[in-house]
């Protein structure tokens, strides 16, 4: 099976967030970029499938700027991916998941792809759009929030569960298709030291991104960090009922955390 896995470099979870000088995005200065968490699960799933289906290969693809994207692809190779393609994005990085999907789709369409795996969402923008947009662009079925992915060679069907708010759905799909993974079947493996050393020398194919002009409809305008807490606003009340009423109103209108 030819498996493509889409990976993204994101700031590591413990990063101190800072706003860029123009106020529109995260300041990347000093930020350490790593393979996105759900993408790690996607790579793990791809490798598990490769190990269970003879003659399979895993192709890691990423869209992003130097040097973080190349590093994340090398990390994927160190985990066991057979090849890697880097679609270089300009800096400042266009921060539009649909644009990313278009870039990935173009690279994937021209490569063998029976199954395309993506992580559910990236730890930074958390849009969860790339996988579904990719499915549309490639003209194949796409399913997100997938767990327990299995391949049934006898019936040539992928079987899996999707975790939805309404319950856990059981599905099957022919190939090719796009899967957005919510979790790995197993804990994602750690790259072995010898593989890390080997990955430094592995070749990475470069691909070009489609011309972004006219394609991006989603533009980041502001990036804000929450204001530091200054102490509770105490609610004045004469009866418990009044306190409850006031709090619910505040939560709904002021804090927008509507119960």
């Amino acid at each position: 099976m030819e498996i493509v896995v889409c990976v993204k470099p994101v700031p590591e979870a413990e990063t101190r967030l800072r706003v860029s000088a123009d106020g529109t995005r995260l300041d990347p200065e000093g930020v350490k970029f790593v393979l996105a968490g759900y993408d790690e699960s996607a790579v793990e799933q791809a490798l598990l499938l490769k190990e269970s289906i003879a003659g399979s290969r895993v192709h890691a693809i990423s869209f992003g700027p130097a040097p973080r994207t190349e590093e994340v692809l090398r990390a994927s190779i160190a985990l066991g991916c057979d090849q890697a393609t880097w679609i270089e994005a300009p800096t400042p990085v266009p921060d539009d998941p649909v644009l990313a999907a278009r870039a990935l789709a173009r690279a994937i369409a021209s490569a063998p792809h029976d199954l395309v795996l993506c992580g559910k969402q990236a730890g930074d923008d958390e849009s969860a759009i790339v996988a579904t947009a990719l499915g549309e662009l490639l003209g194949v079925p796409v399913f997100g929030y997938v767990v327990d992915l299995k391949w049934d060679p006898g019936r040539s069907r992928l079987t899996f569960h999707r975790v939805m708010e309404s319950g856990q759905e059981s599905w099957e799909s022919p190939l090719p298709c796009v899967i957005g993974l919510q979790q790995a079947w197993n804990d994602p493996r750690t790259a072995r030291l010898p593989m890390i050393l080997k990955s430094r020398k592995a070749p990475i194919t470069k691909a070009t991104m489609p011309d972004p002009a006219g394609n991006s409809r989603s533009v980041p305008a502001k990036f804000e960090l929450p204001v530091a807490r200054t102490g509770a606003k105490l609610i004045e009340y004469k009866s418990p009922e009044e306190a409850a009423l006031k709090l619910v109103r505040i939560l709904r209108e002021d804090a927008k955390v509507f119960p």
């Binding site: 499915g135 079925p141 306190a243």
Partner: protein, 327 residues
């Protein structure tokens, strides 16, 4: 944006889900009741289709084909895009559940629209749409401008108010189901295992957490905390004092030697706010504290506080929330 808005309904157990009612509310706010058209899909969606009218939306389009009985958003997208074009809509709103977010991704391509998910605020200023959404696990907020004539927004659940009830005469128009791309032909939903009721969300994933502390005084009083949590669909947590005393298992403990949570809303009931607890919940977006002691350190990190007797405040709060949520 004065053109129409399509609100896509998600149906669960024959009814529109709460996230759809929130989308209806926002749609009405942006375009007025006349400016909103509802949409449902699936062969069993009649009840859901008629629910739009309870919340002020008379015009509903219903694609009745059984191919839409599952939550495969890719099958819905062509029909919804067609309906939106026919209605001359410039905006599609959907509750940002997993289905809703999937749909947004499909429509971004199929309807060639500017798209955003997890949206917590929507503003229009003439031509463009500006949205706010949490990023980095809620540690930051970004504002995006969506450009172009069309936009799709998946609204973050609980970020918007449910539409006020406003009964209007329903006009449900059946619409043809657009052809599903042939690639979807071999896909099949084999069944759904429903999440059992009463098993609340996991503590670390929950959007809302209600925790109880030593102020609850005895294990037989802890139900006040749990009832408040249930009214909010929230997860239940506890301070170390409670778990140490054996009132609840250690898995409930939020704090330095317990779990770290960062929900949208954290309500601390009878918790003094010792640092060991604070470090486990301080990154919550909004913190509410209920405590009889005005000098309790919890009021330093909380956004809102009620100084008072939790045995009276908590049940009053539970009751008010149940009322507001129609439970």
């Amino acid at each position: 944006m004065t053109s129409r808005i399509v609100v896509v309904g998600e149906v669960h157990h024959d009814h529109l889900i709460e996230a759809t009612l929130e989308a209806i509310g926002k749609g009405r706010e942006l375009a007025g009741s006349e400016g909103v058209v509802g949409f449902v899909g699936g062969s069993h969606a009649e009840t859901a289709a008629s629910e739009f009218a309870r919340f002020g939306i008379g015009e509903v389009r219903w694609a009745r084909d059984g191919v839409l009985d599952d939550r495969a958003a890719g099958r819905f997208a062509p029909t919804i895009a067609t309906v939106a074009d026919l209605e001359k809509a410039s905006l599609i709103l959907v509750g940002g559940t997993n289905f809703g977010r999937d749909l947004a991704g499909h429509l971004a391509i199929r309807w060639n629209a500017g798209t955003a998910t997890g949206v917590t605020d929507v503003r229009t200023d003439g031509e463009s749409l500006t949205v706010r959404r949490p990023v980095f696990g809620g540690r930051a907020t970004e504002t995006r401008r969506l450009e172009g004539p069309r936009a799709v927004l998946a609204l973050r659940p609980h970020a918007f108010a449910v539409a006020p009830e406003s009964v209007v005469p329903p006009h449900i128009l059946p619409v043809p189901t657009a052809e599903v791309p042939s690639a979807w032909g071999g896909t099949k939903c084999l069944g759904t295992e429903v999440v059992p009721a009463g098993s609340g969300p996991a503590l670390t994933d929950a959007a809302i957490v209600v925790s109880g502390g030593r102020g609850v005084r005895a294990p037989e009083n802890f139900h006040l905390v749990e009832e408040l949590a249930a009214s909010l669909g929230a997860a239940v947590g506890a301070s170390r004092a409670v778990t140490d005393a054996g009132w609840r298992p250690a898995t409930f403990q939020v704090g330095q030697t317990g779990k770290s949570v960062s929900p949208q809303l954290y309500i601390a009931v009878g918790i003094s706010g010792a640092i060991q607890h604070i470090v486990g919940m301080v990154s919550s977006r909004v913190i509410v504290a209920i405590n009889s002691d005005p000098t309790a350190p919890i009021f330093k990190v909380a956004d809102y506080g009620i100084v008072g007797d939790l045995f009276q405040i908590t049940p009053a709060l539970t009751s008010e929330i149940r009322k507001v949520r129609g439970l």
